[in-house]
Symmetry: C2
Subunit: 339 residues, 2 copies
């Protein structure tokens, strides 16, 4: 079984995205949000069958851990109420995808974060996602200001309410920023990768996993710059008087395989333990083209992983075992289906 | 000949750093800056002989392109006048190091940048560094706000005066941030690497080198996250309708070898053309310890490069030829010495 841990609903039906534009326009004009539009099952089915489902089948994967479009979370837009409405609309739509394709998709929720706002509504929405919608995790934005980086680091007590709820529900988070309103940072070319690197270094500096020994966080995009600079991070941990990374951070932190060329995947597997790597592609995402050097989609990461020729036990971990361990509610759902 | 393109004077004599503290205290209290202290040649000699010079010899390199301590530039402190005094003091000290060890060090200047300030004083200081102090380049901080990222991207016309002066003087810049006043970003573990990645993506998005075809920029720390995500950047350039990276960016952009483990260096040389890689170590810098896995200093990058077993012509490029091409005034200085 092959589980892609990193998929976003980037192809959601037009009325859903249109409503978001209407919601933000209403916010700017001080009007109440427009009513959410009717979207029928066929619209959803089509948007999935022609995209994610088609590619999953073509590439030979079985399942995707599926969440709302990351770049559209845009927590820096509107306010806490606006983020709340938007997160619920996005999560409800994911729940409908899962309802229509229960064997292929399982949900991960968007949180209604807002710069400077407390995390109470995120805690409540996470609980709703898990207990009512059957979701198995959430995406946590370390920078709801969208490239201004005005929140405290992830190791700050500001974030503890969501970590407490995640621990209680036994669900992980993917640390994932959204779009950038800072012209310095291209969203998928700079902000995403920077956030991954930044979060990892915050975990080195802090001692978060002493307080939350069971917390599990997935850093996407192959861990940002971290594996390439693994020596730097091992050395910085040492200079900061921290334990080795495998004790201090890597019991709780996992990287996906969203690295879009063979040499990057080779490096990832050379320096990071197999137990810490989850197969992911973020397909129909940041990089949608075909690599002229290979003739295949840049984001067809399964090809790169297959090329590694991993021993069967490692391959099973990367393609499904690690995901089932990091997302225990996914494991429960699969077991209930006899898988 | 082996030239290290990336060295900072991290071991400057105490009175120099103490003066900076006094200068900032005076600024906060609205007093004029204290007089710069007397520092004698022996203090400078000692600070170099026991550190950079000793390690250069131990590691078998010949020369370092040497600039003021990057993390101490702190352009976000004080104001334009304060940055101006500090840059001149730092550059004059580098000139003294070069005067004492002319065969081993050649200077690169710190610019008196300040958030929101125009670049006139940086242009003037660059001219002074090159024409009066004999320097061969400068360090350009893409984020003088120190982690707030309030300046426009490097492709914006705001930066053009310094690029014009660099072109006129035929000197390159290393794109190098300083310390971070944003608690999200550890300086050497996040801010440095993020800035490298960010700058590269800005160059993809923009068209800077159409306006400055002869401009040369060194992105340090092995290009941040870029080589690890080389497929992502090739794919993003394609999605943005830009020419391939080797035409669009890599005629003007170079990476150093400040990557502190063998697998990272292996990847760098696998994906980046040898013509674009300059040997560098940033030694006595961010990561000063010994790697327990190898028994050698993390930042002894020459060991990793040597292990590649490059063909002699490529080795010569990485260790000296590329540096002499990117820093033509260094080449002239070496030729004048018959080298």
């Amino acid at each position: 079984m092959i589980i892609d841990c990193h998929g976003h609903y980037t192809t959601a039906p037009g009325p859903h995205s249109d409503w978001r534009q209407g919601q933000l326009a209403a916010f700017r004009e001080g009007r109440p949000s427009p009513p959410y539009p009717a979207i029928n099952d066929d619209q959803i089915r089509q948007s999935i069958e022609q995209n994610q489902l088609r590619l999953l089948r073509e590439r030979g994967a079985d399942m995707t851990i599926f969440s709302p479009r990351a770049s559209a979370m845009a927590h820096h837009e509107g306010d806490e109420r606006v983020s709340g409405e938007w997160a619920r609309a996005c999560n409800d739509l994911i729940a409908r995808v899962v309802g229509l394709f229960p064997e292929t998709f399982i949900g991960v929720g968007q949180l209604p974060q807002s710069p400077g706002a407390p995390l109470d509504s995120s805690v409540a929405e996470l609980e709703r996602c898990v207990t009512e919608l059957g979701f198995v995790g959430c995406n946590l934005n370390p920078d709801p200001s969208g490239g201004r980086w005005t929140s405290p680091p992830l190791t700050d007590r500001y974030w503890y309410p969501i970590f407490e709820k995640m621990t209680e529900l036994d669900v992980p988070a993917m640390v994932h920023v959204s779009s950038s309103c800072n012209p310095n940072f291209h969203a998928t070319g700079a902000h995403y990768i920077n956030a991954d690197t930044t979060a990892f270094m915050q975990f080195i500096q802090g001692d978060l996993f002493a307080d939350f020994p069971d917390l599990r966080l997935v850093i996407p995009h192959g861990g940002g710059a971290v594996p390439y600079h693994w020596g730097r991070y091992r050395g910085l941990a040492d200079m900061l008087g921290k334990p080795p990374l495998n004790e201090h951070v890597m019991r709780n932190v996992f990287f996906d395989t969203c690295v879009y060329h063979q040499p990057g995947i080779d490096l990832l597997f050379e320096v990071i333990e197999t137990d810490n790597i989850l197969f992911g592609s973020e397909m129909v995402g940041a990089v949608r083209g075909i690599d002229p050097e290979t003739g295949h989609y840049f984001d067809d990461t399964k090809r790169y992983v297959d090329k590694l020729g991993l021993p069967e036990a490692d391959r099973a971990k990367v393609y499904s075992g690690n995901a089932r361990r990091v997302y225990p509610r996914l494991d429960q759902a699969l077991r209930a289906r006899g898988l």
